[in-house]
């Protein structure tokens, strides 16, 4: 009897061990993702050792380390070497490295360098429909039926406000402005001048980067940035209205000054200004550089309470690129990493939080942790009303910067300065291959 009991006990223990091992194995090999799926149980490179390089620019090493670590844990036969370069160097070295045989198999992409990279990229081994099912904004990235990279997150401009200054001016959450008229009134209340009339605290400032703000606000009036024949349009009524309003905020309302600080982002952190229109990345930058500044965010105001054609433009934070000149084996591993990254919600979330961007992955749109970031949360209601004009070359922002400085600092006439910038910009765009994707915007039919 005792012998039987021992046998039964041994059998039970053995079965328990087998089941727990099976459970572990199934946990490890659980398929990730929805439409874009990743099966960790599938061997990579037939389980044979292989090394690849992953290139990225300085700023978020921990994110790429996380991708490499998690992937290598699933596939110990793959060695991923991370190569970091400063931003400026990266965009010179990367395209040159991709021309040869020894370039990185996988690399971080920024869409503003699309033209220099696209010729070296291999299309994703993932069906476009699957990508579209999981991510928003994919259609704007489709080239001849293929996707070479897409967005994991959408970054745009939101209004940051200093909470202490807000309270000191007697303002509450109910005063959050939704139109430009109410915004101007709030800005006036937040402005402080001393006895001599000198500005002590600006209600609003756009100094040192207004081109990023202006290139997007014309959408609020239904005006696209590019014409149907592919040219840029600066000198139009919408942009003139936007610039005139900016001038009026300073010159009529006296809520700011062209000479009160030269970098509104830093000046906001330094406590010089109460409101500032900044892009998503500023959220984490302000937190780390100016931890004592308590700030909140609200969505960019619109001309009226009606939902506009688009609130502003967004720029996508891009997914990885795969080097078409890498060996077939390395490309296969790179494609596998891309699939792993796209299917992995935890990694997607990590990347979105680190860059303060609204997730492009639909499954994360209502994620609590992400919506706890104020600059992201304010976009949630209208995220479909932000437009991506395409991977704009730097000529567009550079020429708008010149026009705005001529208007704000050199006293140039708005229309003359915009026309000059438009002419130069179109001359420079003619040297490249840029094509606007504005017509692919969901509400493109509403444009003027």
């Amino acid at each position: 009897m005792k012998k039987h009991l021992t046998r039964i006990l041994t059998l039970v223990i053995a079965l328990a061990l087998v089941f727990s091992a099976m459970a572990c194995a199934s946990a490890q090999s659980a398929i990730l993702g929805n439409a874009v799926q990743y099966d960790p149980a599938q061997p990579v490179n037939d389980g044979q050792p292989i090394s690849i390089e992953l290139w990225y620019w300085t700023g978020a090493a921990n994110l790429f380390q996380a991708v490499a670590d998690e992937y290598s844990a699933l596939h110990p036969n793959v060695t991923i070497t991370l190569v970091e370069n400063p931003w400026d160097d990266y965009w010179t070295k990367l395209p040159l490295a991709l021309q040869g045989q020894d370039g990185p198999a996988i690399f971080n992409v920024h869409n503003s360098y699309h033209e220099n990279l696209i010729g070296y990229m291999a299309p994703y081994d993932i069906a476009v429909e699957d990508l579209e099912n999981d991510f928003v904004g994919v259609s704007a990235h489709v080239i001849d039926g293929k996707v070479y990279y897409t967005d994991y997150g959408m970054m745009t401009a939101t209004m940051y406000y200093n909470k202490a200054m807000w309270a000191a001016a007697g303002l509450t959450d109910a005063d959050i402005p939704t139109t430009w008229d109410s915004f101007r009134e709030v800005a006036k209340k937040l402005t402080i001048r001393n006895d001599k009339g000198e500005l002590v605290q600006a209600g609003f400032s756009f100094n040192g980067g207004a081109q990023g703000d202006v290139l997007g606000m014309q959408y609020q009036y239904g005006q696209n940035l590019f014409t149907q024949d592919g040219k840029v349009s600066f000198n139009n009524e919408a942009i003139q209205t936007v610039i005139q309003r900016m001038k009026d905020i300073y010159e009529v309302d006296q809520s700011g000054d062209y000479n009160f600080g030269n970098n509104s982002g830093d000046n906001f952190g330094q406590g010089m200004i109460a409101m500032y229109l900044g892009w998503g990345f500023m959220h984490n930058l302000l937190k780390s550089n100016f931890p004592d500044t308590d700030f909140g965010s609200f969505e960019i105001p619109a001309p009226s309470e009606d939902v506009p054609y688009a609130y502003h433009r967004y720029n996508g934070e891009s997914t990885f690129g795969v080097n078409k000149n890498a060996s077939a084996e390395q490309q296969a591993v790179a494609q596998d990493i891309v699939r792993f990254f796209l299917a992995n919600d935890a990694l997607q979330k990590q990347f979105c939080l680190a860059n303060s961007v609204f997730p492009a992955k639909k499954s994360l749109a209502a994620d609590e942790d992400i919506l706890n970031v104020s600059s992201i949360a304010v976009l949630a209601n209208h995220i479909d009303r932000y437009i991506w004009p395409g991977p704009m070359p730097s000529a567009v922002e550079n020429n708008m910067k010149i026009a705005l400085e001529d208007i704000f600092y050199n006293g140039a006439d708005i229309s003359t300065a915009l026309q000059s910038a438009e002419d130069t910009c179109n001359q420079e765009l003619a040297m490249g291959d840029f094509v606007s994707v504005e017509p692919q915007y969901q509400y493109a039919a509403e444009a003027k």
Partner: protein, 297 residues
């Protein structure tokens, strides 16, 4: 006499081999790092050229035409001339004054002062420019604090170029001081003693002896400074990015902007060659002046 002419100036064959090796090495260096890039850039100026995406398409004289039709380029050339003229003049005058002061026998801590004056010259321009950017800040900047002014140095068209010139003068005057000080030490003292016996005062000695004798050194500084200032772009890149508007665009900044921001290497090459011709012309002119001075002496 004939025998002397026929004799090889080098004594042994090993010296000849060494000479040939050194000359060949230098030739290779210059061909590889100067001649080839110049030829490549010249050919590139006739192409729509972006090496980063492997684009190299012949477009004839388009780039050259664009250069000559660009109002920005000619405005930048005007800015460059003014910038170079003021900076060179200030460098020479400041250099002369300080080197003469240091040359005086009454000055103590000569080595320390010489080192201090030369220190900005050996400091990297990017680092210097960033520090000066803080100094020019309209709210917190040291310059406004010292002057009790409210000037937005980098965004006011009246002051932006002045701000760049001031930085450049501060950064570079030490070079002129050291070179001119070397020149002053090499002047014959017996001439000054003779002039003193003849009753010349200090001002006369400076006007009629020091200045003429230092002329080759001054010309050297003028030529090297002109070449260097016509290629200036770092302070513009760090301080103003050419602004406000295009008020502080210099010719070399356009080249940088076109080549390394907009990747229009063909257009940038065409501008480079126009700038190269202008610098060559100015340098030739300076050498000609220098040659005339030598003949006068």
């Amino acid at each position: 006499m004939n025998a002397i002419h026929r004799r090889h100036p080098l004594r042994s064959s090993s010296e000849v081999v060494l000479r040939n090796l050194v000359v060949c090495g230098l030739c290779c260096f210059f061909i590889l790092f100067f001649l080839v890039p110049i030829v490549v850039a010249f050919l590139g100026s006739f192409h729509l050229w972006n090496p980063l995406k492997g684009q190299y398409r012949f477009n004839g004289l388009t780039n050259w035409k664009m250069v000559f039709e660009s109002s920005l380029f000619w405005r930048s050339m005007g800015n460059t001339f003014i910038f170079a003229a003021v900076a060179v003049l200030a460098r020479v005058i400041l250099g002369l004054l300080l080197s003469c002061a240091l040359h005086s026998k009454t000055v103590r801590f000569l080595s320390t002062l010489r080192t201090l004056y030369y220190l900005p010259t050996i400091t990297p321009m990017v680092a210097v420019a960033f520090v000066w950017k803080f100094m020019y800040d309209p709210q917190f900047g040291l310059l406004n604090q010292l002057l009790g002014a409210h000037i937005n140095w980098l965004f006011d068209a009246r002051y932006a170029m002045t701000a760049i010139v001031l930085l450049t003068i501060w950064k570079d005057f030490g070079y002129a001081v050291v070179i001119l000080l070397g020149g002053l030490y090499s002047l014959p003292t017996d001439l000054y003693e003779a002039a003193g016996i003849d009753g010349a005062n200090a001002a006369q000695k400076f006007r009629y002896m020091t200045l003429p004798l230092l002329k080759p050194t001054i010309l050297f500084i003028v030529i090297t400074s002109l070449i260097s200032y016509f290629q200036t772009y770092i302070p513009v890149m760090v301080l103003t990015q050419g602004g406000p508007g295009t008020q502080t665009y210099l010719a070399s900044y356009i080249i940088y902007d076109q080549a390394f921001v907009k990747y229009n290497f063909g257009y940038a090459s065409a501008i480079s060659f126009v700038l190269f011709l202008i610098i060559a012309l100015l340098t030739g002119l300076s050498f000609r002046l220098s040659g005339q001075t030598e003949k006068e002496r």
